[in-house]
Structure formats: C-alpha cells, structure tokens
C-alpha cells in the first residue's frame, strides 16, 4: 500500500522494518494518521527501540478495542509522540480472546501505569510486569469487564451493590 509520509516519518518506518523484520505485520495510514501493527511478543522491544533510537519520548495514551472477531479479538493501541520531529505514531497489537496478555511498557514510559490499568478494567487484558495491577474505575469486587461488546449497556443487575435505604445503625 502506498504511504504518503514525509521524509522523517519514512526514516522511522524504514528503521523499524529493518530492525524488526518479522514482527512488523502491517503499516498503513488512515485519514492522515500512521498505524503500525506488530506482534504481541515484540512490543517491549519495539517500544524501547522507538523511544531510544527514534526519540518517541512522550506516551500519550494506551487503550484497548474489542474487534469482536473470532480470531484476535482484542487490540491494544499505543499513541506515541516525538516532540523533536513532530511526529505521531500509533502502534497496535492484536490479542486473542482467551487469556489476553501482553508485556507492560511501564518500564519504558512511566505514565503507562494508569492507562494499562484502565485497559485492564474495561477489557480484561492482563499486563505482565505492571507495578500495581488493579482495577481503576470499577471497584475490585466487580467481576465483569464493561467495555466488552457482550456486556450490556445497562449493566447486569446485582453485579454491584447499592447502599440500603434504611439508616445504618452504627
């Protein structure tokens, strides 16, 4: 597929495909943004390379998507920015439905901490090596993952407790 990238971006993509020949599955553009899909096992190395060699020092966001396909149901997207070259890149991985796990990038960018917790809370994707792995929005007692497509919008009755309408004796 033909990509219209400016010179610096082309250098980044070339460097990436040279360094990780088997792991970069797809590079494409959509409405002006550039997306790179890599294999899940290589994400830590790819991110370290992008941060150290290509100067993508600012992690903007990490989030998940539910593709709702039978193969590779979940997708995790990393939104990274290079301030020196003024480039924005999206790195994606696809994860299977049973037991989705991926290495955490908190060692590379510290701010990935809460973003990964949010992805776990909403989709159930586990991040190995995360320093403080808990849910962030819903309480720990909640058993479901709300953003999955099969979770109903109105919630599951009884999944989360409501306080009583009579005064507490204590």
């Amino acid at each position: 597929m033909s990509l219209e990238l400016n010179e610096q971006f082309q250098k980044v993509i070339n460097g990436l495909t040279e360094k990780f020949p088997g792991d970069v599955i797809d590079v494409y553009q959509s409405t002006g943004d550039t997306f790179v899909r890599v294999t899940p096992g290589a994400i830590h190395d790819v991110c370290t390379y992008l941060k150290e060699e290509q100067h993508f020092i600012y992690l903007i966001d990490v989030f998940g998507t539910d593709r709702f396909t039978s193969e590779d149901r979940f997708e995790v997207v990393y939104n990274i920015l290079s301030l020196r070259d003024r480039l924005r890149l999206f790195v994606k991985v696809w994860l299977p439905e049973e037991d989705p796990e991926i290495a955490s990038v908190t060692g590379i960018w510290e701010c990935a901490d809460w973003f990964e917790r949010q992805t776990y809370d909403m989709f159930g994707i586990r991040f190995t090596g995360h320093p403080d792995f808990r849910r962030i929005y819903m309480p720990e007692d909640f058993e479901y993952f709300p953003m999955r497509k099969e979770f109903p919008l109105l919630g599951i009755p009884g999944s989360i407790e409501l306080p009583s309408s009579t005064p507490d004796p204590e």
Binding site: M138, P146, L153, L154, G155, D168
Partner: protein
C-alpha cells in the same frame, strides 16, 4: 393527662412549632454534595449574583454534622453511592435532601451501568429539580420549597 393535652394540637404547641419552624427554615445550611457539573451551578448559586445567603444559607457546611440540607448535585455512581449514604447517615435530624438536576433525580441522560438511576434509590429526597444543569434560580426555588415544607412540620411533637 394534662401533658398529653398540651402536647397535642393545642395553642401552645402550634405557636412553638411556628417559632421553631421559622428559625429552622430561615437558616437552612446546605451541605453540598457537589459531584459534577451541577456543582458548578451550585457554586454560582452561592456566588455573587444568585446570592443564597440572603435566604439564610449563609455558609456551605462541608461537614455533615453541621448541616441541615444535603444538595446532591450531579450523577451518582454506584461506587460513590455508599459514601453519600454514609454522609447522609451522619447528618443529625432534622434533615432534608434536594436532588439537583436530572442526573441526581432519575439518572438523567446517563442510562448506563455505572450510574444509579436516581439518588432516591437510597436517599429520602424532599425536592427534585429538573434541568441539566438547572439554573441557580431553580435551585433557589427548590430551597424555598423546602422552606415551605419546613414551615408546615410539627417540629415539637416530632420526637415524642
């Protein structure tokens, strides 16, 4: 016998009632449970233009032990609901509750898994205000309705 006569609907208790109710209604100190956007309108309601201290709510008391009226402003989450209930239980009697805005009254535009569809699921609400967010004038109107409600209570015989 004589005590029962004086404590029922006689001249003495109604006059005492009026006095106590007049005092209570004109000094209803609100406890703002300001959660979301309605909290900003509540701040404006305490602000310079829609000054609520002229209605007696001189200060916003953030401690529940010192407040009379709790204004739930904003949507109530399941996680937050427990905290609100605990705060409500800590408020001493007599106390009233205003559900400000569509989200506190019925869940509003947020019909989804995280939001309690109306804080009257766990709180006894006295006044509901519609609006998203309601204008501060609407909140003053609700406060005046609570004041009317207070004035018709049988305060003296309440605890007997």
């Amino acid at each position: 016998m004589g005590l029962e006569n004086t404590l029922s609907e006689g001249y003495l208790t109604t006059k005492l009632d009026t006095l106590v109710n007049w005092a209570r209604s004109n000094a209803a100190w609100p406890m703002p449970m300001g959660l979301a956007c309605c909290a900003i309108e509540m701040m404006a309601f305490a602000g310079p233009r829609y000054d609520v201290s002229r209605f007696g709510s001189e200060v916003m008391r953030f401690s529940p032990r010192q407040a009379d009226v709790m204004i739930v402003a904003g949507w109530v989450n399941y996680k937050m609901a427990h905290a609100i209930r605990r705060v409500w239980d800590q408020m001493p009697d007599p106390k009233w509750c205003i559900a400000m805005g569509a989200c506190a009254s019925t869940g509003g535009m947020h019909r989804c898994y995280g939001v309690v569809q109306g804080c009257d699921n766990f709180l006894p609400v006295d006044a509901y205000i519609s609006g998203c967010p309601p204008r501060p004038d609407a909140l003053i109107h609700a406060l005046m309705k609570i004041q009317d409600k207070v004035r018709t209570e049988h305060s003296v015989t309440l605890d007997t």
